[in-house]
Amino acid sequence: MIAELGQFALALALAVSLALGILPMTGAAMGGATGARLMAVARPAAMTLAALAILAFGLLTALFVGNDFSVGLVASHSNLSLPLHYRIAATWGSHEGSMLLWVLILSCWTGAVAVFSTSLPLVLRARILSTMGLVAAGFLMFLLFTSNPFDRLVPPPSDGRDLNPLLQDAGMVFHPPLLYMGYVGLSVAFAFSVAGLIGGRFDAAWARWARPWTTVAWCFLTLGIALGSFWAYYELGWGGWWFWDPVENASFMPWLIATALVHSLSVTEKRGTFRSWTVLLAIIGFSLSLLGTFLVRSGVLTSVHAFATDPARGVFILAFLAFVVGGSLLLFAWRAPAIGNGPGFAAVSRESLLLANNVLLSVAMAAVLLGTLYPLVLDTLGLGKISVGPPYFDAVFYPLMAPALFLMGIGPLARWKKAELPELVARLRWAFAVSVIAALLLPLATDGFRPMTSLGLMFALWIAACVVVAVRDMLRGADGRLSLRRIGVHPASAWGMHFAHLGVAVFVAGVTLVTSYESGRELRMEVGQRIEIGGYDIRFVGLAPITGPNYDGTRGVFEIRRAGAGDAAPIAMLSPEKRVYRASGMPMTEAAIDRSLLRDVYLSMGEPIGERAWVVRAHVKPFVNWIWLGCVLMAIGGFVAAADRRYRRRALERAARALPGGQPA
């Protein structure tokens, strides 16, 4: 009964999304009284769509919580001994369930845009919501025709197959929702661009309305990717945090473009230029989100993300992708003359620096795209199976990001339209000197000169130093004294920007330091044995069998001390486990990590050798947590920037009453 209700809700949602997709768009084209009535359908339709999606998702969750094994999805991904919180998470731990999550988040974003956009002109709002409705319709069709989560299984089994043990984890519970918030949020920028292309108006106001939505989507995408990396680090048991895996790249490429888009939107808002860039970046960003969905869902990839192959799904998504991307690019080509150019800018100006930023990020995305898609294309054409490994991505990504990181320091300090180079040099020469000298000295102080380490540290310190210079100048009053009261003088978007850039500096520092100074070994250890690694003394003190709610296994107990501490009290006890989940028979490695801001001590168990020995993996990873801390700081900066007063409705209305109207296209 519940499953049938859920399916009905989805079918109804499809009908509503089609109405939302077609009626307001037609109304916007028609104009007049009938047009206005059709456009007025948009808001209630969007909210109904959101309500129906919430209902369907809630019903699927109820089925999982109740362990209703007559529904195929529940039988494949749940189990009688699966704890409640993981039964809830299992709702999106499968292909069909996660697609329903996509639809839920898309519908909620559409509803949010409907609610918060009352200050937009009705025509623009109608077109935006229609575009989002069409996208939702596409996904609902995909759900209903190829991936129905509510399919019944007859006869129902007595127990389920259990959720993939890799997904029975807090990190994995939050990773898909966060990531999807980002992916789907890019559809808002996409819809803004499509609506703008149809309407032919791209003034500063259009950019101002699009900015907070895009920034928030970017923040969620950042957090989702960071959480995925953080999860892989502790769950996969190898201590790696980024593998340039096609599925990771599928989320990273939209992130690169979304970063470029966020910056490009600031130029379009403040100066009215970069309109074509902004529109194209929005289209490409969302297309990459869809491409990412295709890559992960269609079975062309082998990964813990890839689900059982079903050609129908791949074909559908590919067709949808072709329609969305092809259609929007055609629209762009057709309406490009209406976009127009804005005012010019000098060779050295904030605009030119941001242009370089756009170009570098786009090229980086293209390089990653090549490495990700090439093996897939070859395989599909039957030309053989090849793989492109991390060395390629490292070789292309770092040289492209290096100049971008350097410019990140200068950009916020450069003036719009024309920046005076001598002035910039004068303001930043100390920052430059400090970062170069410190970057050279730090490795020398530890264990000798390392050029790559110094380079990475230099960029991190340079960005941080430039942020310090900028903040100092922002806090400096007319009397030349620094005052915290001047925080309120500057808009939230400026503070958010500096905070986010600082996050990038922390991230770069973390990556550089952990890559340069990590130490790890895989070795055989007997109970009673001790090893020294990375300045720490690790003693294997015990081995014990364990039993969990849905697994059995072995736990190793290790004492951690600083090297040379003799028999002093250990600073930490770590208990890594090797589990076997009963329902699936699947083994799982649970690493044990002693975390701190300065380093992680990481232990995982490999395989037993005889009765008293195991192959153990031991790592010491300095500053590895700065990687994810940097991402969190970036996201906080983004949220602060998006909360800027300028984007909020009442402030907008006050401004709209004061201005004669937007800049002419």
Binding site: R161, T302, A308, S387, L523, R617
Partner: protein, 155 residues
């Protein structure tokens, strides 16, 4: 016409930078491609010696053995036509099991064994990496339908 000349210079500089970037990217690309070979192809001598590549197939049952102090493990990989011995030093991934599909990346030694640097654990729900399935299919022994979950007892 100075502005036009300036613009041409900018465009040429931009194209030049793009050409350099493209050369670097494609160069890095070509030198980092890793090809895939089936056990039959390796046994027939088609695989390069000394250059890294990937091998895929099924782990031969009862073939997993630990050598030395136990950190090195050897096992056979087969496509049900030919078998190649693989040696790997390190911790095997959780999804590695005898009789199941596996993909390993490494180099071929001169004695015909494969020294693996990485053993890959990326499987889909049905525990058969596509490369391994491909090797089996090419050797004429395609993989059957995957096992379904336990069914309710017949009444």
């Amino acid at each position: 016409m100075k502005p036009r000349h300036k613009r041409m210079l900018w465009i040429i500089a931009g194209l030049g930078a793009l050409a350099i970037a493209a050369t670097l990217v494609l160069n890095a690309f070509r030198s980092n491609l890793v090809f895939f070979y089936t056990p039959t192809q390796i046994a027939d001598g088609e695989a390069p010696k000394g250059k890294p590549f990937r091998i895929g197939g099924l782990v031969v049952p009862e073939s997993v053995a630990r050598v030395g102090d136990g950190t090195t493990v050897t096992f056979g990989v087969t496509d049900n036509a030919k078998t190649i011995q693989v040696a790997y030093t390190g911790i095997l991934p959780d999804l590695f099991r005898e009789g199941r599909g596996v993909v390993a990346q490494g180099t071929l030694e001169h004695d015909g064994t494969f020294k693996a640097r990485e053993v890959l654990a990326k499987h889909d729900e049905n525990y058969m990496p596509p490369e391994a399935a491909e090797a089996l299919k090419r050797a004429g022994h395609p993989v059957g339908a995957p096992a379904q979950f336990q069914e309710a007892p017949k009444q």
